[in-house]
Amino acid sequence: MDAYFYIILVVGLLSTVLCAGAGILKKAPNDATILSVAAVELSLLVYLVGSIVRVASGEQIAGEPWEFWGYLVTALMLPVGAVYWAILERTRWSNFVLAAVGVTALVMAARMNQIWY
């Protein structure tokens, strides 16, 4: 597991706890929960840029490269889709939708790390 994974681990868990907590407190999605999901997106973008730099500088992906990139691109779409889905109907339940992003990104980042090494 590398730094990219740990960044997503921390940011993802924080975002999930924040969003789930807001949902439990019966709040609708607000700036804090949406920004926390944006932070997940940002850490995934850092992973993307870092990975492009590493591949460009000659590092080899141990597993299937297209599987790695498939995971990464899919993970990048998740926060966007979840925020879209959440603001279409701003109820407490949408915060649980946002909460799912962090853990999902975390699981996908773990898998990406496995593929890379």
Binding site: E64, E67, G70, T74, L78, G81, A82, W85, A86, E89, T91, W93, S94, F96, V97, A100, T104
Partner: protein, 160 residues
Amino acid sequence: MTASQQGTGDAAAAADSPSTPTAAPAPRDTRNTGPGRLLIAVYAVFALSATARAGYQILTKFSEAPLAYLLSAFAAVVYIVATVSLAKAGRTWFKVSVTAVLVELIGVLVVGALSLFDAVNFPHETVWSLFGRGYGFIPLLLPILGLIWLYRRRPAPRRP
């Protein structure tokens, strides 16, 4: 549904309909609001991951375990149908949802049991292997929550 349930449902709907302009204009015959949105989101994630996984298995190593990988593909289709039908309003989509979620429940139970008791013939992983243990048992939980949600949001019985 029995006749008596239909009767009470009808009465409730009749009592409801004239006096519910207070809440947002949420037609009763939808399942894509409130908790349903979370359910649909989780189904969408599973549809996506099951499709990707089945596609990967079939494209790269289909001959190793055709049955398991066809099951993966079948599971992916079930998740896609469930996601789409849950997001749609109306009686027909409700029936599609019920069918898809029931098939999903049977699938996870049968495949889970087979992978447990007949590990020789089911050594290859699918979403439903070991009752979805590889996915935190969410595949087992999801159809149960789905059926509860569908029951709570079942369409009002047709007026005679």
